[in-house]
Amino acid sequence: MLINQFLILAAFLFCAGAYGVMVRKNAVLVLMSIELMINSVNMNLIAFALKNDNIIGHVFALFVIAVAAAEVGVGLAIVLLIYRNRRSVDPGEVSEMKG
Amino acid sequence: MLDFLNGWGLTLIIFLPALTALVVMVTPNKDEENVKIVGLIGAVATLVVSIVTISYFNFDRAGQAQFVVNRSWIDTINSNYHVSLNGLGLPMLLLSNVVIVLCIIYSWNHWPEPHNPKAVLALMLILETGMNGVFVAQDLILFFVFFELTLLPMYFLIGVWGGPNRQYASIKFFLYTMFGSAFMLLGFLALYFKAGRTFDIDQLIANVQTAGISSGTQSLIFGGIFLGFAVKVPMFPFHTWLPDAHTEAPTVGSVILAAVLLKLGTFGFIKIAIPILPDAAKDWAPFIGVLAAIGIIYGALGCLAQTDMKRLIAFSSVAHMGYVMLGISTLTSYGMNAALFGMVAHGLITGMLFFVAGSVKERFHTLEIARLGGLLETMPRLGWVFGFATMASLGLPGLAGFWGEFPAILSAYNPAEGLNVALFRGLMIVAAVGTVFAAGYLLWLYQRTAFGTQKDEWKGHHFHDVLPNEWLAWAPFLAGIVVFGVWPRLMYSVTDPAVQVITKVFGG
């Protein structure tokens, strides 16, 4: 079975996601980029699971999807709150975490 | 009863004082009487236990260990809680317990300044634990722990309740002894590693013979142990802490120091150094003998130069312990018996002298010989007691001191096989000359303090003669000096069997 194609695709998707996370000015888009990265990881998991004929990869993938869904839920809620407070969703403007 | 004593007797003797010290410390300070009574009860109880235990002691087998308790203690280094009693430790154990009780009685109404009976009592009791432990310990680590345990209370006794120069004296005492102990511990460790990974004295005695340790190494190990004990004795030239410590220490401190603490060193030689390393002991014996003989004359000359009564008595200890060490260095049964007798006799006699010095100090607030004089006139009883102790100290036959001195001289004439006879006979003559010196400094002291008439500066002062609690504290000392002097069998029958076991290696 050809695994390289899956891996290359996943790598592409990951890089795209990473780029999006770093440069997007819209927090919602950043969240979406994160989803992209997560799914690239899922793709790798499934690809290796198929190659090694091992169910664990599938299980992990499903698990990750569930976590991702939860994460998006929480993330969107945070973004919403940030927007409500600041009238902006630009992550670059939020530096309260500096402490 | 015997079963109980076999299991718990010695342990009780060791730890009862420490326990009492704890109780004393938690007793409220509001009522001082209570504190004193608790302390006295503890010390007396310890004495009673030790007397009861000793009454079950089998004197026919005084050479063998009795009331043996051997429990594992620190497994990783194979060190055990191993205690037992034989003829060597018995007299010293009794002496230590008696001395503490009498010291408490003596101080009943006059505690050293700054007044704090609670602390003094607690320290004395802890000291007792340490001393008792040393005399029964059969394990080197156990021995070492007790040996060091005696340091701290004495350090505080001198450092807090001492004379004007107390801090210097206490630090000197503590550090000097610690310095010696460090080498001793090194010696113990060397024995542990070289002779079968054990700290048990009995096992070491057997192991060293078979372990094939080179004689050079044995000598070196002996040297380390020697240093530890020699400082404690103290032998010339390691004696300089003693006059300072004695001069500055409060009366009870001096008494305990002279009566028991100095004996830890000589006891260590007889109990540990010589039996475990007999060959090295033989190498070292002439050296020890020479130092002892020098100590006899040197201590006496030091005494003659003193202007302070207490310091003079302290210096006399150097000379007297010289006789003890001379006896030990001959490695003969005569010498060892003399040494053990000398230890008890010196404990009683010098202890007594320090008591007298303390009482004089309390009345005159000075011990300067030139300012005293006419003690016999102002306080005849005190003067006579002092005279009695003086006579005992110079080795008058019929009093205990003689049996520490004469047999030591006797033994030096015929040292153990293989030792240099000519050298030891020379030492014998030196020791015999030392008896005249002893008479010299003691009687000269007595003449200057007790004879003559009162100095003008004290005219019009009233001085109490010996007080009831002083009589109570002194009577056992005085009686002991006479009884042991007249009937030496009391000591010999206890120590001789044990000594014979030790000197068998040296051919008698």
Binding site: - | T240, G302, L304, P397, V433, F437, G440, F451, S493
Partner: protein
């Protein structure tokens, strides 16, 4: 010999020694030697005598002050009891059946004498009934054990012991009685009696103990009592100085004694038993060199105790004590302890000094020098007690000389006779001081006392004749035996010295008589100025503090008797009263002693039996025959010889005549010695006691006490202690250095450095933490990338 069986029988205690402390305290049980199990009670229980006196000592010490007579009653009762027992002992000894050994020797000797006609023991007693050789009575208990060696505590009673017990008990009783009056009112009356009792106990013990160790006990305890009694009036520094001097000097001699005892202990095979030591020494069981060393060592002890030249200087100073004590201790008994030791261990000295060889040995040299030098000193004393003290030294020289030349019996006989007449002389001088010269012993204050003190005069006269060696009186018989032996055994020099001594003794004693009893009384010359009197007396060597306060009516009874005491005398004992006879408590003992001093010499009557006089009764019945046997076998026992006796009588009489001429006829014209020249020089040397005091006290003791001790202490403080202190200080200094440079500089530097670099690094890194999520993500990604790169690279 049966002597040893007693000792070994005493050693069987191992089994008896109890199972518990009970056994510890048990006396060890008494074992009685088999041959003495039926011994007469007093002889077998001779220890009761000293025990009685020691009991009196304890009773006096603890209860004396509460008693009616302040404790004197204890002493009197025990000394009477002791006296009775001692007399009983003598009787029992004399009536004791001869031992098996004794009969055997007698038979053997008789046969030899018949066969060869040799000068032996039997020849000495030729044609007489066999000598009664009695076995000594030995009893011993185990004192302590060292391994297999049992050290016994025992008694060894023989004729010598019995004679000593009698002598000591008799004089002790006299002194006790005398002291009641003499020390009445003294503020330490009770202590005085306690010391006297302890002394008697120690002496009675010393003469009967069977071991050298036991002897040392008695010896040193006597030394203690001597110290206490010399220093009885310790308020005065001269008295306590004299006491210390006596103690030190005898102790110095005791170095030798200790060493001698130690040597003999090992040489005789781990025993202190004197009979065993003698036996071994005489048998050749101990090699000669050892014996020589042991004898010389022991002799130093003898010299110290028996005041032999040059260790005699303490004895004249010891006169600072009360006179009765001087009489008992420093004249009659304690000072002969050395002689006793010599005589008791005669086997050792016999061999060690090679007495048979007839050449001058250490002992005879010392004895000869002592006789003459002390007699010389007696001439220049102005204090009657000092004359008597030097005379004692001189007479002790005779005893030592006698023993050293083989006159064993003669020496111990002289010991006994001297004890009586010298005790008499001392007590008579005490009587003079008490009633005749206002408590002074200065002869300048006496004179003409014959008229005032008839009893004292007569008794003193008896003592004078006995001491001078005039026939019939006791001193003659014993001195003659010594001189005879010295002459016959080839000790010519010793003989010359002894004869010279006899001349000098007669001479200086006549001087004493002339100054005290004859002529005119001079006491009134000192009545004019009593203050000066006080000062004068205080200047005496044994002068007194008492004078300062009560110059008028207490010129100190020997210094200190309180003023009150004199009212009690009842016989107008006032400063202005003239000399008068002493009361009965003083004259009684004088008379008793005078009787003894006259007649005790007949105990060894050297001629055929005559009335109640038995030929050589003392020698046959009292003297320990073991040594006599040895001496006789060596041909050193000699019969009485007029050839020696007559010249010695002539010399003694000549001495008296010269003394009379110079002191009475010429009235003691001192111009001869004061004029300078040889006599003046001699006088000066004698006045300064041969400068021996300067040597001992000032040079040797002074330098030890002063510079040497100070140097040692300096060494201690500035060298040894300095090393320790320097070690301590440098440790402290090192500590400070370590703290400052290493701890604070280096170690702490590292710690601080870590902090500083952390904060600096933090300052740089904090810039990364800008709170911007995307920046974080970028960093995170970069880091992950780096890690991934690393993993790829290295795995």
């Amino acid at each position: 010999m049966s002597v040893f069986s007693a000792f070994s029988a005493g050693g069987n205690f191992a089994s008896e020694f109890g199972l518990s402390t009970g056994g510890l305290l048990a006396a060890g049980g008494e074992t009685v030697a088999e041959h003495s199990s039926s011994a007469p009670w007093i002889l077998a229980h001779a220890w009761v005598l000293p025990a009685l006196m020691v009991a009196a000592f304890v009773a006096t010490l603890f209860f004396g002050k509460r008693m009616k007579f302040l404790g004197a009653e204890f002493g009197i009762v025990s000394s009477v009891a002791t006296m009775v027992l001692a007399i009983g002992g003598v009787i029992q000894w004399v009536r004791l059946a001869p031992g098996a050994h004794g009969e055997e020797v007698a038979k053997e000797e008789a046969m030899r004498a018949v066969g060869a006609g040799m000068r032996s023991f039997a020849a000495h007693f030729a044609g007489e009934e066999p000598i009664k050789l009695r076995d000594p009575i030995e009893r011993s208990v185990s004192w302590f054990r060292n391994g297999s060696v049992d050290i016994g505590l025992g008694i060894h009673v023989d004729g010598f012991t019995v004679a000593m017990l009698f002598t000591v008990a008799f004089i002790s009783l006299c002194v006790h009685v005398f002291s009641i009056e003499y020390l009445r009112g003294d503020k330490r009356f009770t202590h005085y009696f306690a010391a006297l009792n302890l002394f008697s106990g120690a002496m009675l013990w010393m003469v009967q103990t069977s071991t050298t160790l036991g002897l040392l006990f008695g010896w040193e305890l006597m030394g203690l009592c001597s110290f206490l009694l010399i220093g009885h009036w310790w308020e005065d520094k001269t008295n306590s100085d004299a006491a210390l001097k006596a103690f030190f000097t005898t102790r110095t001699g005791d170095i030798g004694l200790l060493i001698g005892i130690v040597i003999l202990f090992f040489a005789a095979g781990n025993t202190f038993d004197m009979a065993a030591i003698n036996e071994k020494a005489l048998n050749g069981g101990i090699n000669h060199a050892t014996l020589v060393v042991a004898a010389v060592a022991l002799f130093f002890g003898v010299m110290g105790k028996s005041a032999q030249f040059p260790l005699h200087t303490w004895l004249p100073d010891a006169m600072a004590g009360p006179t009765p004590a001087s009489s008992l201790i420093h004249a009659a008994t304690m000072v002969v302890a050395g002689v006793y030791l010599f005589a008791r261990l005669y086997g050792v000295f016999w061999q060690g000094f090679s007495i048979t060889s007839g050449g001058m040995n250490f002992g005879s040299w010392i004895g000869a020098i002592t006789i003459v030098s002390a007699a010389g000193l007696a001439f220049v004393q102005t204090d009657i007690k000092k004359v008597l003290a030097y005379s004692t030294v001189s007479q002790l020289g005779y005893m030592i000389l006698g023993l050293s030349v083989g006159a064993w019996v003669g020496a111990i006989f002289h010991l006994v006779t001297h004890a009586f007449f010298k005790a008499l002389l001392f007590q008579a001088s005490g009587s003079i001081a008490h009633s005749g010269s206002h408590h002074s012993f200065e002869m300048e204050r006496m004179g003409g006392l014959r008229k005032y003190m008839p009893i004292t005069y007569r008794t003193f006269f008896v003592g004078y004749l006995a001491l001078a060696g005039i026939p019939i009186f006791s001193g003659f018989w014993s001195k003659d035996e010594i001189l005879n032996a010295a002459d016959k055994n080839g000790f010519t020099l010793a003989f010359v010295a002894g004869s010279l001594g006899a001349f000098m003794t007669g001479c200086y004693m006549t001087r004493v008589m002339a100054k005290t009893f004859w002529g005119e009384n001079r006491l009134h010359l000192f009545h004019d100025d009593h203050d000066a009197h006080g000062a004068h007396a205080a200047a005496d060597d044994h002068g007194a503090a008492g004078h300062d306060t009560h110059a008028h009516d207490t010129h100190g009874h020997d210094a200190h008797a309180a003023a009150v005491a004199h009212d009690d005398h009842g016989d107008a004992h006032d400063a202005h009263a003239g000399p008068h006879e002493s009361p009965a408590l003083i004259t009684g003992p004088l008379v008793a002693l005078a009787v003894m001093a006259t007649f005790v010499g007949f105990a060894n009557w050297p001629f055929k039996d005559f009335l109640f006089l038995k030929r050589f009764w003392f020698e046959k019945n009292i003297a320990n025959i073991t040594f006599e046997e040895t001496i006789a076998a060596a041909g050193k026992v000699h019969p009485f010889d007029w050839g020696v006796a007559i010249p010695s009588i002539i010399l003694a009489v000549g001495g008296i005549a010269v003394g009379y001429w110079y002191n009475v006829v010429k009235q003691g014209d001192l111009g001869l010695v004061r004029r300078g020249g040889v006599f003046g020089l001699g006088h000066k040397v004698l006045k300064n006691k041969y400068y021996l005091d300067a040597l001992w006290t000032d040079l040797i003791i002074g330098s030890i006490k002063g510079p040497i001790a100070k140097m040692t202490y300096w060494f201690n403080q500035n060298v040894i202690d300095a090393v320790i202190d320097t070690a301590g200080r440098s440790a402290a200094a090192t500590g400070r250095g370590v703290y400052r440079y290493i701890d604070q500089g280096l170690v702490d530097g590292i710690v601080n450095g870590a902090g500083i670099s952390a904060s600096t690094g933090g300052g740089v890194l904090r810039k990364l933490q800008n709170g911007k999520v995307q920046a974080y993500a970028a960093t995170f990604l970069a880091a992950t990338g780096l890690i991934a790169f690393g993993l790829v690279l290295f795995l």
